[in-house]
């Protein structure tokens, strides 16, 4: 049985010391990583290799990741026998109790009124796939995860009354059916979200804390009509982040704050002057017809009178029309047709769209058609290779993927958008190397590709009962999230592929030969 009692703050909100901060907005939008985002293209090679394993859903094992430090071992030796021992699944169950900082029964006696914890318990490994969360209305919870070390976050639904709490590390090696946690009051962080003239930002603003060390975000609270907010947290370094909800046009701003024991900290956030205006237009397909359900995404480059960052998104209606609220400033606009693998339409980006106090009408915007790319794929020795799957992934936009297959002569034909692409060439067997090539200017109409020499990878996914078959394995740079390639294990848990890495752990041949990039 595990029992954890978080020391209660002695002082209540009304009795806390106060420290005031008037924060200038910062423009940090937080780090983003992984395949869902644009991977960096540093070709110096990974310092750490991450192996994601997604076992067959019928197995007793759960998705998980293992990270290998390439600086401490020989890369070629590691890759020649890359054994991943899956961690068994473990269950943690228990109870979280809480207090409310202000009692319901007698406001003249501030005290410790027990209250059920209502909110979310979330556990996540420092990196990788192992993460799970559950909502509770009475404090009871159960989570099942691979054995390992986690960050356990307690996210109250009412974060004005109950604090945001992170337990890091929480080591789950065996089943833990007696987890108990008593939340104290924490320390209040409060303030206003205001415009330059001191008036509250128009509309509803959501405010939350982000733990600086882990990057974990706490629950959100909405400002009241005067722009006031209150959050509660335990001592530590945080960022206070504010942003309009989906119905209000308020940019994201943030400020750093250090929360101390028994101290109420004031953080006011300035959003400049918020005066929404309308951006409108019509999206047309190649035939000149309105395009339905195209995504319209405005990303602020610089706001005229407002502070912070902002992304506004909407879809076109059945006539291809769109209207959305933005702020005066300079914007990047992405127009993304709905994905259709057999379609011909491509996304388009409009840079430096100026929006003034009267708004902006983009008029009719025709999305371009995809371009036809023909090419050949050859081995390092110059032999044409058939049955190579060509996978082109958009950099930016919605990261759509387009695929083609080479014929016996190594030739392929691909219809892709004329936008920056990351292209993987997936050979049909492990004799050839999965080769990634960046096309920052898009692909040309004719491409000649030579697969990298690379290094062979032979690996096994194991459990206590032997090899784990039918598991998805993906190798990637642990720091940038860039993928080397993926494979499925055979019935014995074995997988083989050849990846574009040299013996020093660096990337090999990740630039197209014919563009000089």
């Amino acid at each position: 049985m595990t029992k954890r009692i978080v020391p209660l703050a002695v002082g209540l909100a009304v009795g806390c010391a106060e420290s005031d901060m008037l924060a200038k907005a910062s423009f940090d939008t937080g780090a983003a990583m992984d395949w869902g985002e644009d991977a960096e293209t540093d070709d110096s090679g990974p310092a750490r290799l991450r192996v994601d394993v997604v076992p067959n859903g019928d197995s007793a094992y759960l998705p998980q990741s293992v990270v290998f430090d390439l600086a401490t071992q020989d890369t070629a030796t590691l890759l020649s026998d890359l054994v991943v021992q899956l961690a068994p699944s473990r269950t943690v169950a228990g109870q979280i109790s809480a207090f409310e900082a202000a009692p319901h029964d007698d406001v003249s006696v501030p005290g410790t009124l027990a209250a059920p914890f209502v909110g979310r318990i979330s556990m996540s490994a420092a990196s990788g796939l192992a993460r799970r969360s559950v909502d509770t209305r009475n404090g009871d919870f159960t989570l099942r995860l691979p054995a390992g070390d986690y960050r356990l976050a307690v996210l109250p639904a009412d974060s004005e009354m109950q604090p945001f709490y992170i337990l890091d590390p929480y080591s789950l090696q065996q089943d833990d059916s007696g987890f108990e946690l008593s939340l104290g009051f924490g320390s209040p962080v409060y303030g206003r979200v205001v415009q330059t003239d001191g008036t509250p930002a128009p509309g509803i603003t959501e405010v939350w804390l982000e733990d600086t060390r882990t990057g974990l975000a706490g629950p959100r609270v909405a400002t009241d009509g005067e722009g006031n907010y209150v959050l509660r947290a335990f001592p530590g370094a945080y960022r206070v982040v504010a942003e309009g909800n989906e119905r209000s046009t308020i940019p994201r701003v943030a400020a750093s704050v250090t929360v101390e024991q028994e101290t109420a900290t004031r953080v006011d956030l300035g959003v400049g002057t918020v005066a929404p205006v309308e951006a409108s237009g019509r999206v047309l397909d190649a035939d000149g017809s309105g395009l339905y359900q195209a995504t319209i995404r405005f990303t602020a480059i610089a706001l005229d009178d407002a502070e912070g960052t902002m992304v506004v998104e909407d879809d076109t209606d059945s006539d291809g029309d769109f209207e959305l609220d933005v702020l005066p400033g300079l914007w990047k606009v992405e127009i993304i047709p709905p994905f259709d693998s057999d379609g011909e339409l491509a996304p388009v980006r409009l840079d430096d769209i100026g929006v003034d106090a009267d708004g902006v009408d983009l008029g009719a915007v025709s999305v371009p058609e995809r371009v036809r790319v023909t090419g050949t794929v050859a081995s390092p020795g110059g032999d044409a290779i058939g049955a190579v799957t060509v996978v082109a992934r958009e950099v930016g936009f919605d990261h759509y993927v387009y695929t083609a297959l080479t014929g016996n002569n190594g030739g392929f034909e691909l219809n892709v958008p004329d936008v920056p692409l990351e292209v993987a060439f997936l050979p049909p067997d492990e004799r050839h190397t999965v080769t990634w090539i960046d096309y920052p200017q898009g692909m040309s109409s004719r491409e000649q590709v030579t697969l990298a020499s690379g290094l062979p990878v032979s690996g096994r996914i194991r459990s206590s009962g032997g090899g784990v078959g039918a598991a998805l394995v993906e190798l990637m740079d642990a720091d940038t999230g860039r993928s080397y390639g993926s494979a499925l294990t055979d019935e014995n848990g074995n997988f083989n592929l050849r990846i574009a890495m040299d013996e020093g752990g660096g990337w090999t041949e990740t630039a197209p030969a014919d563009t000089g990039y």
Partner: protein, 125 residues
């Protein structure tokens, strides 16, 4: 009057048309029929497929769709000793309650499919 016409009977060579065996999804994550809860960040689903008469297994086509949001554009084929397809999906509340499906078809039109209901927790509890 009756007229008898001569001739001989001829059977052309019998050409056996092979019966197409459709592809079969033999394994997946999540398991068939499961509800898939998308956690914040990247989520990965996959199917493993067998189709002994498809010729090049790379010629199998996979269509990943989510309810009214239609075809998904982030699926990646898997080649090598085993074949299949995997999809990466970011948790987006708009997918909550929708069904994710993948349909695999071979060049002869044979097909198999599998689907999962999606749940996406709200961003803030």
């Amino acid at each position: 009057m009756s007229v008898g016409m001569g001739g001989c009977y001829f059977w052309p060579p019998i050409i056996e048309e092979p019966q197409n065996v459709p592809p079969t999804i033999t394994a997946s994550y999540p398991a068939a029929g499961d509800t898939w809860t998308l956690e914040p960040g990247l989520n990965k689903a996959f199917v493993l497929v067998q189709d002994p008469d498809a010729g090049h297994p790379e010629r199998l086509e996979y269509f990943w769709t989510i309810g009214r949001f239609g075809e998904q554009g982030t699926a990646v084929p898997i080649t090598g000793n085993e074949v299949g397809s995997w999809l990466h999906l970011l948790a987006d509340e708009k997918y909550d309650g929708n069904v994710l499906s993948v349909r695999v078809t071979d060049p002869s039109g044979g097909a198999d499919d599998i689907s999962w209901e999606l749940t996406v927790p709200e961003e803030s509890p």
